[in-house]
Every structure is written in C-alpha cells, then in structure tokens.
C-alpha cells in the first residue's frame, strides 16, 4: 500500500502537521476556486480526443496505465510486471515467459518510472520503458500495440529505483540500484555492510531498429543507496546523474542512521568515458544469471534467454568515469533541466532546493579541485559546483520537472504543494496546494530537451476525502494544473490506478497515427495458428490434446469436440480470424484453472484445460462481440480414461 513512503517519512509528516497547524489559517480546501471557465479547459467533448497521452505507473499494481490529458480519462491498463487475468497476461502460454526471472516466475512487480524514447533529446513515441523495483527488471512497451514486448532482469541490483531513464537518443536505458547488496551475492554478516556492499549501475543499450535491450555494462559503485537519476541532455549528453542517500552506509534503523551526514552525493557518471574503457578492455567479466524475455510479434510468443555474464567497470580503476558532487540531506529527485546545465537535487530533509551547474562541474574537474575521495571516486567541492539555491520554497522537496520557458516546478511532500521557480534567479514565482502530499509530478516532455509547458500533473500520495469513500482503501489522486500562464491554475482532480510513481506525457499526434488497429492474419507466424476454418482440427499426442480452433462472428470452429478423456491436458490454440478494428473475441471453459483469453483480430493465444470429470462441458465467447454473441458457444465431451470414443470435431455437423 501507500504506507512504504509514509513509513519512511512518518516523523516528517508529524512535524509537517505541526507546522501546517501553525501556518495555515483555517481550512485549505480549494474546490471553490474552480470556475466554469476552468472546467471547460479540461473538458474533452464526447467523441473528441485528448491532446496528450499520459503513461502513469501503477506502483504496487505493477502495471502502466494510459490516460488522456487534459481529461484524465483512463484508456488502458497495460500489464507489465503483474499478471492480468483480464488480458490473460502471464496466464496464456504466449506471455508467461515475460515474467520469468532468475528467481522463477514472478507474478507481481512494483512499477515505477516510465520514460518515453527520445531522438535528439526530443520525445519520439517509439517505446516507453519502465522499471520494476522489487525484482529488478526493465520493461519495454511498444507504442504501436501498447503491449509489453520485452522484460530484462537486472543482475547485481536490488531495489531497482533510480531507473529507467533514457539518454538523448535512447542510446541507453539506465538502471541504478537503491539498495546496496553483496556483489556477487554471498552469505555474509549484515554488519559487514560498510565497504563490502556495492551498488551496480546498469547501462542497457537499445537497438535502434528493434528496440531490443541488452546490458552493455555495469559500474560497481560504493554501497550507498542510489535513489533517483536523470541523463544529461544537450551539452551534458554523455553524462548521467544519480542522487544518493545513506552515504553513511548504515544497515539498520536507516531513518536515523542514514540521515546523519549533512550532505550526501550526486554521482556524475561519464558514460562516454565508460564506452572508452570498455573498448580498451578495461573491464572484468562477472558470471551471473538473469532472464532476458522477448516477445516476438511475428510468432506472438515470448521466449526467455538466460544471460550468463555481465561486464563490470570499477570506478576506482577508471579515472574520469565517476565524480561525486555533495548535495544536502539525503536528496531524492535528481532532475536535469532541458538545456542540460542544471542538476536539481531535492534534499528530502532539507528546506532548500539545491542546484548544481554542469559547466562548473566540468571546470572543477578540469582544474582537479577535489575534496578527497570516496572509495577512489573524487569528491568535488560543494561551492565549486553550486549554481544556486532556492531558499525555503517548501517542506520536503521531492521531484522537479521543467517547462519550455525556463521555469522549474518542484513537489513538496510535507507542505503538500507544487512550487514554480525560475532557473538562474532561483526566485519562487508561484505555489499551489495539492491534495494531498504530492510525490511525483509530470509535464509532457518535461524530461526532455523539449517540454510542452501546457499542463502539469501532480501525483499525490494521500487521498483521504477527495472522492466518494470506498472503505479504508481509497483511490489514488492526481491533479491537473494549467501552467501556460505565469500562475498555475488547478483544473481537475482525477483518480488513478495503483500508486503512481511517475508518469510520462507526450502529444497524442506523435503516437496516435502509429497505433495498430489489427494484427495481420496473413503475417501471423504463431506455431499453432489456424488461418481458416477448414484448417481447424484436434490432434492427440499421448495424454496431451491440441485444439486448433478459430473464432469469427459469431461461432467457434470446431464448436463440438468429442473424444477428450479424463486426465488429458488440453491446449486450446485459438485464432481470431477477424480483420476488423475492435472485434476481439474471448474464450474460456468451465473449470479452467487459468484466465480467459482475450484475443485481438489476427492473433493466436493458448490456454490449457485439464478436465476434472466426465461430462459435456460448454465453452463460450467472453467478449460481447456481435449481435449473436450469446450464441457463440460450444461443447467438449469428456469421457472415461478407458473409453474408446474416437477423437472428433465439427462445426454444424461438418
């Protein structure tokens, strides 16, 4: 539930309540501010389309939901890291492999930070990437089908949180590790954490044609917690920045023991330098084992490849690869402005927002002005890299996004507000309350060189009384602000699924024309495809039976099957012969111990059924497909194991 973040900051919430009680005169409900004119600006008339797509992570639901902006309407909940019975994701034979890991089949994940692919620092709408925090993985979702097509496990990582951000040309998707662990894993005393645990930063190279990822290299960093990250862009392209906490390297009662240092670090990693070291062979190869799961749109089937090694770079042996920039008080967000000059660190426990300068960082490095080192990694002087400080803008700064006019917007969890401030002058321009305790925020393109500074979505951690109550568990709450003017204006409250941990937004026109309508039946290369009714058949192989079935408005072929025996394992390979937009069919049978199938036009999917008893068992279409949907049904006759009933199948007696 939402309690994880709340737990880690419960002391702060208590503190905040005291402060709010002291500072806020009366109630802070703001619904009265919504005038008719404001309501019009988030209204999308029936039949009209939204201006932006939003991809909102589902946190503990493991998925990624697709919404429209400014309406806030939900269009789809894309299954990524958790099984989804509705879409048979992780239940049908085709997608099971996507959830394979070195720990076995994992049916659940904690999805966090979606990021859309970019070209030249601009959103290109090819793919969206998202990380899984608990069992470290990165997924790629194809934005022509809005389906998960690849999931790669990240070895040596734990708490895959400072992920999954893309570089200017989607050269890399980067995955950091929040928890330091023994690398490689081994049996050792937890008290020996300090100096022994490591944090692996993974750089996943992306094939520009297929989108396929592979772990190009890992940088084995000291055992801090690497919390958030962002790529350099424009002039800082080639660098990657990570915030750290627990530079104390504590291993118990972290809320106290990891909050002792006045400053932690922003780690600046020069990945172009890493490529040089890699080319020079200055790396070690570590044996490991991780799952690389890839869905092939042609065969419509996912397969797992077990990867056995990973290239490791040691920053102590690679001068110029990594530098540490001091940053106050356990920074959380690590955000880079569209020009690539400013690196904004939000010290969760600080009252200020601290901004470092890329140019100053480069100058300090060139002048070799270091203040010692940490495990061989040079530490730069705080003053040498400091660009500016936004003084006391709020309490509990978390994340910052940017518009296209030189402004930054930072969320404040404790004081529950979004604050707009100016890059360079560091002055606060505006502040608006959120309901309540905002975590992430998103401006479409706000994580690129070209933000679309029209809307801002605040994703809140606490909902309380904002909507009709639904028992102890209430929906999640997001808020839409118009940021086109000098002052932000609250336009809309809307509920979201799961617990959003970030979102990515993009103009609809960059994706909409590419969205597939059907899968071509002709190009279907599924090994068990049935391309016409005359090819429908039932084949026995020992105690296994394969049903090659088709579905089209409004019948199955075959729809009568006899000769199945108790104890058989029956595979239903079902092909939707439709080639019309939005005509899916579904299927399930009494007593199936798996989910229904929901099959798109031109697609083949497979479910298994092990009949538990003799009898005649109906199956039917589970998606209201047509005027005669209710008639779309059939029967399977199951006989005794020793019965001599021959296998037969038919449609309308033929």
């Amino acid at each position: 539930m939402k309690s994880r973040i709340i737990n880690t900051t419960s002391l702060l919430v208590g503190m905040a309540l005291l402060i709010l009680a002291a500072c806020t005169p009366g109630g802070n409900k703001n619904s009265g501010a919504i005038s008719g004119d404001l309501a019009q600006r988030s209204f999308v008339a029936p039949g009209e389309h939204d201006e932006f797509y939003g991809f909102i992570s589902g946190g503990f639901n493991g998925q990624l939901s697709v919404i429209g902006l400014p309406s806030g309407r939900v269009f789809k909940n894309i299954p990524v890291f958790s099984v989804d019975a509705e879409k048979a994701y992780g239940f049908n034979e085709e997608t099971k492999a996507l959830l394979n890991t070195s720990f076995g089949f994992v049916p659940w994940g904690d999805s966090h930070h979606p990021d859309i692919s970019q070209t030249n620092g601009k959103l290109d709408g090819r793919w969206v990437f998202i990380n899984e925090n608990n069992t470290p993985r990165i997924a790629r979702i194809d934005l022509t089908t809005f389906e998960t097509v690849e999931i790669i496990e990240i070895p040596n990582s734990a708490g895959n949180h400072s992920s999954s951000y893309v570089t200017d040309n989607t050269e890399y998707v980067v995955a950091g590790t929040r928890f330091a662990v023994p690398v490689p894993q081994r049996d050792m005393s937890i008290n020996d954490y300090k100096g022994n645990f490591k944090g692996a930063m993974s750089f996943l190279k992306v094939d520009q044609e297929s989108g396929e990822m592979n772990i190009e290299f890992q940088i084995l960093m000291p055992g801090f917690d690497y919390d958030k990250a962002h790529p350099g862009r424009g002039k800082s392209h080639g660098w990657f920045f990570f915030t750290t906490y627990n530079t104390e390297e504590a291993n118990s009662l972290m809320e106290v023991n990891a909050s002792q240092n006045d400053k932690d670090f922003v780690a600046a990693i020069n990945w172009k330098k890493a490529e040089e070291y890699l080319a020079q062979g200055n790396f070690t190869t570590m044996a490991t084992n991780y799952a690389h799961n890839l869905y092939d749109e042609k065969t419509q089937t996912a397969t797992t490849t077990w990867e056995k090694e990973v290239k490791i770079l040691d920053p102590a042996k690679c001068p110029g690869l990594v530098y540490f920039m001091p940053m106050p008080k356990s920074p959380h967000g690590c955000d880079v402005d569209p020009t690539g000059e400013y690196i904004v660190g939000s010290g969760k426990l600080s009252a200020n927002v601290t901004v470092h300068s890329f140019d100053k960082m480069i100058k300090a490095i060139e002048e070799e002005k270091f203040d010692g080192d940490a495990y061989g990694i040079p530490i730069l002087n705080f003053e040498d890299v400091l660009a500016g400080v936004v003084v006391q803008p709020g309490l509990g700064p978390l994340h910052t996004e940017f518009d296209n006019k030189g402004n930054a917007y930072t969320t404040f969890f404790i004081s529950s507000e979004v604050v707009k401030w100016k890059l360079g002058t560091w002055e606060v321009i505006d502040r608006k309350p959120t309901y309540y305790s905002v975590g992430h925020l998103m401006i479409p393109g706000g994580n690129s060189q070209e933000p679309f500074g029209k809307y801002l979505v605040a994703m809140n951690k606490i909902t309380k009384d904002r909507y009709l109550p639904t028992g102890p568990e209430v929906t999640q709450s997001a808020q839409l602000y118009d940021i086109s003017g000098e002052k932000m204006e609250l336009l809309l409250d809307f509920p979201t699924l799961g617990e959003p941990h970030y979102a990515a937004g993009i103009p609809a026109d960059l994706i909409k024309p590419n969205s597939k309508k059907i899968y071509s039946l002709e190009e279907n290369e599924h090994p068990f495809v049935t391309k016409s009714e005359k090819d429908a058949k039932v084949v026995r192989d020992g105690n296994t039976v394969h049903v090659y079935m088709t579905m089209i408005r409004s019948h199955f072929a075959p729809d009568n099957i006899e000769g199945i025996k108790e104890g058989d394992k029956v595979y239903f390979h079902v092909t939707n012969l439709e080639q019309d937009y939005d005509v899916p069919h579904g299927i399930s049978i009494i007593g199936a111990n798996t989910s229904e199938l929901l099959i798109m036009p031109g697609q083949t999917e497979t479910f298994t059924w092990t009949p538990k008893g003799v009898g005649v068992w109906p199956f039917y279409c589970t998606d209201f497909c047509s005027a005669l949907h209710q008639e779309m049904q059939g029967y399977v006759r199951v006989s005794d194991r020793n019965s001599d009933i021959e296998l037969s199948w038919s449609l309308d007696g033929e």
Partner: protein
C-alpha cells in the same frame, strides 16, 4: 490531323483506363464504422476499398442470410474483351474518319453501357433479395414482407443501420469522357465539313 479525328482517337482510347481504374464503388456507413467500409467494382474483379472491407461486409451480411460478394462471375471474363473490342472499333472508326461512324460508336457505347448497368442492377437485385433460408436475423417490412438489402444503383439509401452509397469511380468517368469526346468529334467533324 483534324481536331475531330484527334478527339475520336482520344475518346476511343480512354476506355482502356478501365484496366487500371475502378469503375464503381459501393460504400456502407454506420455510426460504429467511423471509417466506412466499401467495395470497388472493376471490369474484372470486386476489390476491397480499404484492406479487409469485403471480408467485413460479408461478415455482417451473413447474419441476414446474404451471399458472399462474388470473386468469380462470368462478367469478369466478358467485360475486358468487350472493352478491348470497343477500343479497337473506335480506333478503326477514328482512322476511317467518317462523321456518322463517330455517332455510331457513341450509340454502341450507350447501348453497351446500358446493358452493363442493367447487369449491375440484376446482380444487386439478386445480392439483396436471394437470402438464405437459415438466416439468423430475418427482418420484415410493414406488410410482413422480407426486407431486401439491395444497394441503390446510383445514389444513397438506408439499409437497416447502414447508409449505402453507390457511385461511379474514376474508371467510369474515363469511360464517360471517352463517349463525350466521340460526340464532340461528331459535332466538330460537321463544322469542319461546313468550313471546307
């Protein structure tokens, strides 16, 4: 060369475009088909207007017992021969250059065109009336007679939830232009004769 002769040559050649352009189109529109579905009628085939349209038309029509849109009918074999014949005939006439023959070619084209349209009407009638006994959905009109699903010969008509529109396409317009040119050739030839 005289203008009339040029007109007749051009007019006689234009029907050849029927080999590369569709002749007629029937489009079905309904609210749940924001992209209408349609078929293009050529001299030798009936084709999808957009991919899979015919499959989708057949799928809908099977509920009311309509037959599939044919892929093979005798007309597809006859029409190409007829078109070649009138082109050859037109070229011969243009070569001869007799004014009255221009008019005769136009008349032949009108007759053949009328036969073609009648044939098209016949097919439409049969397509809309010859329904399978086992049709799942049987609609009747006010008088209890089975509803016919015949598309209009030309123009628009509501058939249940669909608006069916039947209109000539570029190939037919090429044919009409060719006929018009032969008529123009006839008038020009008369003026040319009067001038000389």
């Amino acid at each position: 060369m005289k203008l009339s002769k040029i007109l007749m040559f051009t007019g006689a050649l234009l029907p050849l475009l029927l080999f590369v352009l569709p002749m007629w189109n029937i489009t079905l529109r309904a609210p749940q088909y924001p992209e209408p579905i349609g078929m293009d009628i050529w001299i030798n085939k009936i084709a999808d207007h957009n991919p899979n349209d015919i499959k989708n038309i057949n799928l809908m029509n099977h509920y009311v017992g309509m037959k599939d849109i044919p892929t093979e009918i005798p007309e597809f074999k006859i029409f190409p021969g007829v078109v070649i014949s009138v082109v050859v005939l037109g070229l011969i006439i243009a070569f001869i250059g007799k004014r009255k023959l221009y008019l005769a070619w136009f008349a032949i084209m009108v007759i053949l065109g009328s036969i073609g349209m009648y044939d098209f009407y016949q097919w439409e009638y049969d397509y809309g009336h010859d329904l399978k006994e086992t049709a799942a959905i049987k609609f009747t009109d006010k008088d209890g007679q089975p509803i016919a699903y015949q598309p209009p010969l030309i123009g628009s008509k509501m058939i249940l939830n669909f608006n069916a529109t039947s209109l000539p396409m570029s190939g037919a317009y090429a044919l009409f232009t060719g006929m018009l040119l032969s008529l123009l050739a006839f008038y020009h030839a008369r003026r040319e004769e009067m001038e000389t």
